[in-house]
């Protein structure tokens, strides 16, 4: 027989993981792009 589990902790954990991890991925990718492009500009100026 299936346990009568409350589904909401599982739902909230899934959404928190998805939103937090994906935002982190987007932010990390954007920042490393900006840093790399700034490094390219610096190498041009030297």
């Amino acid at each position: 027989m299936r346990e009568g589990l409350d589904h909401w902790p599982f739902i909230l954990a899934s959404y928190a993981l998805t939103i937090g991890g994906t935002l982190l991925l987007v932010a990390q990718s954007w920042l490393s792009m900006k840093q790399a492009e700034a490094r390219r500009e610096r190498s041009r100026d030297r």
Partner: protein, 254 residues
């Protein structure tokens, strides 16, 4: 297609497309997940736990779609030597790995209330875990190949990661057909070409979530490609300058 393999043309396109994809992706994903959490109805058999569908299925599709794109980029690199193909494959690896890991984690969180267990070693779950390991192996291999090539910028010319990317694609049909070939707790596909076993409210919600996450995936890949290209250009400039300096010093000594 060959026209876009030109890095300068790619950069002109990517400069406006990257923020556009990321902003559109954040808006569509944010709106869909808010609707799914607050307004999506409970499913007849699985109740509220079916809300996990809206994050689990896009993650699964992007994990598999990511490797398919990586394999196409690898093939393009091997056959046509497009200058951007190796960069595209390397840029896809991290977001692909993230969505594969997310698929496994959200699947586990869905499995506990739906199946009564966090994990089973059946064909679908195991082949998805293999996909995550393939991504990790690809990233390690690509980094080692770039280091051996001496540029450390992620734009290496080694063919080994490309061959690995192509061979790893054998796992994609295995994941897809695993629920049909072997006994599994995982349900068979609910959506196939032209038909769906899902209620429209779930189907349209899922479609919106897939579009939102795919836009984010595309934006992240473009941002990572731009980062690899910019690092490669900076490395090349610094190396050229160092060589010029060495020649100057050599000339003064003579």
């Amino acid at each position: 297609m060959h026209g876009f393999a030109n890095p300068a043309r790619f950069l002109r396109l990517a400069r406006w497309l990257t923020p556009l994809l990321l902003i559109a992706g954040l808006i569509v994903t944010g709106a869909t997940l808010t609707w799914a959490l607050t307004s999506a109805p409970p499913e007849r058999l699985q109740g509220d736990s079916a809300k996990i569908l809206f994050v689990h299925v896009p993650a699964a599709w992007l994990g598999m779609g990511g490797w398919s794109a990586l394999a196409i980029a690898s093939l393009t690199e091997l056959v046509w030597r497009h200058p951007l193909a190796a960069i595209a494959a390397r840029a896809i690896a991290l977001p692909g790995a993230w969505f594969s890991a997310l698929c496994l984690a959200t699947g586990s969180l869905w499995g506990r209330p739906a199946w009564g267990t966090w994990w089973v070693w059946d064909g679908r779950l195991t082949s998805m875990l293999v996909l995550l390991f393939l991504y990790l192996a690809y990233m390690a291999l690509a980094e080692a190949a770039d280091r051996d090539a001496g540029n450390g910028s992620g734009s290496g010319q080694s063919r080994i990661p490309a061959i690995f990317g192509l061979v790893g694609a054998i796992n994609i049909p295995i994941i897809h057909y695993s629920v049909l070939w072997w006994n599994s707790l995982h349900q068979p596909p609910s959506i196939s070409v032209g038909e769906s076993a899902m209620a429209p409210v779930f189907l349209y919600g899922l479609l919106a979530a897939v579009i939102g996450f795919s836009l984010l995936f595309g934006g992240v890949v473009l941002a990572r490609m731009r980062a690899i290209l910019a690092n490669a250009q900076a490395e090349a400039r610094l190396r050229r300058r160092a060589m010029d300096q060495d020649f100057d010093d050599f000339g003064k000594r003579d």
